[in-house]
Chain length 196, copies 2
């Protein structure tokens, strides 16, 4: 990891984190729907090794993508449309942690609790609070779902850069796709309420 | 196409279909987020040619997947948990049309209007109505998002079955992934309301 420790606002291991409203049975259902199994856990461990030295480059690609699209960078900007450098930078460090967490953390109740925290940080109740940012109040759900595509497609060259054979790269990439889809499904909870 | 025409309950070309609440600008944003361009349109046309003779086999895989998972087949069942054969069959025919529409229809306002209709048919206001089915009242959003994975992963062998080279198969598969992600983003609208 190339980030300073501790990462400001990163509270994954905070014992005061409230539990997720998502039940273990609901998580099981989602894991089954995305066909997530033991082989995917192993592939993600390997992906973590491959990605750990490339986090800054991955973030450069993603931040480049967001920065190139006014309809996305708006959510890191003031209501008047001025990008907030400090906000972008602090979230970037947590985003780096998230890449490693997605690969290395067990998907247990603590992880579920932080997933819920991340979900809330995209929505009205918690956006901007962690970084005391003077930005717009929430991120529309549609953008988060659509982001599954670029977050999945753009990781592939980085997964391939470790010199593994095509089959292993593919296994890492499929596991990544599953993990991202799973997390977006979890993050939709505060948006959908009872219809989640 | 191997389905009888007209397909019961399929109202894509019904002039009485209400317009979508999604604006052309919102659609543009989503297309940009999933990196959907002209090359993807062409790749989907080709995918349509490759898939058109395999629709029943694709549906066998998807229905097999749903049927194997109690937490999914429940939504095609009575509240007591009895699968409803007639409902499964009628939706299957429309699902077949949807595969071809995803590949061949222009993503214009009429398409957007039917996207909204499909969205509503997954939710409380419209589920069961089209087929007069005695099933549970709505499908939770999380399952629809999670389904992006199996609907994308399982199509690949069918795209590869047309004898195209690896690069063309990959282009078709990426375009398919984008199109499915885009549609799930659109379908989340009735679930998220103002936060969509
Ligand atoms: C697949 C979709 C997405 C993923 C994986 C993702 C991931 C993340 C992560 C890991 C964080 C930091 C969480 C933490 O505080 O520890 C974050 C925060 C944030 N994301 Fe996303 N994100 C996604 C979609 C989006 C979209 C589409 C936007 C809109 C441009 C966006 C804007 C933001 C903002 C503004 C924050 C800071 C929220 C705050 O104030 O705390 N995200 N995201
Ligand atoms: C990527 C995700 C999904 C796609 C692409 C998809 C596609 C479709 C399509 C094309 C239809 C027919 C639309 C029409 O009436 O013309 C449909 C209806 C339906 N789908 Fe989905 N679906 C998805 C997720 C799910 C999930 C997760 C379930 C739960 C098992 C589900 C259950 C149903 C049911 C019960 C209907 C019939 C709704 C009615 O009463 O009219 N779908 N879906």
């Amino acid at each position: 990891m190339t980030f300073p420790e501790p990462v400001p606002g990163y509270t994954h291991d905070d014992p005061g984190l409230p539990p997720s409203p998502v039940t273990p049975a609901e998580l099981e259902g989602l894991l089954a729907s995305v066909l997530f199994g033991l082989a995917d856990q192993e592939a993600l461990r390997l992906a973590g090794d491959v990605l750990s030295g490339q986090i800054e480059q991955v973030l450069d690609v993603w931040y480049g993508f967001v920065g190139a699209h006014p309809h996305l960078v708006a959510y890191f900007s003031t209501p008047q449309g001025e990008p907030i450098g400090d906000y972008l930078g602090r979230v970037r460090a947590r985003f780096g942690r998230w890449i490693m967490d997605t690969c290395r953390r067990p998907y247990d109740e603590r992880w579920l609790a932080y997933q819920h925290e991340i979900a809330l940080r995209h929505t009205e109740p918690k956006k901007n609070q962690t970084d005391h940012a003077d930005s717009v109040p929430h991120i529309p759900l549609r953008h988060i779902i659509a982001f599954i595509y670029p977050i999945t497609a753009t990781i592939r060259p980085f997964l391939a850069a470790g010199g593994h054979d095509a089959e292993q790269v593919d296994a890492m990439h499929q596991a990544w796709f599953k993990a991202v889809t799973l997390q977006v499904a979890l993050w939709s909870q505060p948006y959908a309420g009872k219809a989640w």
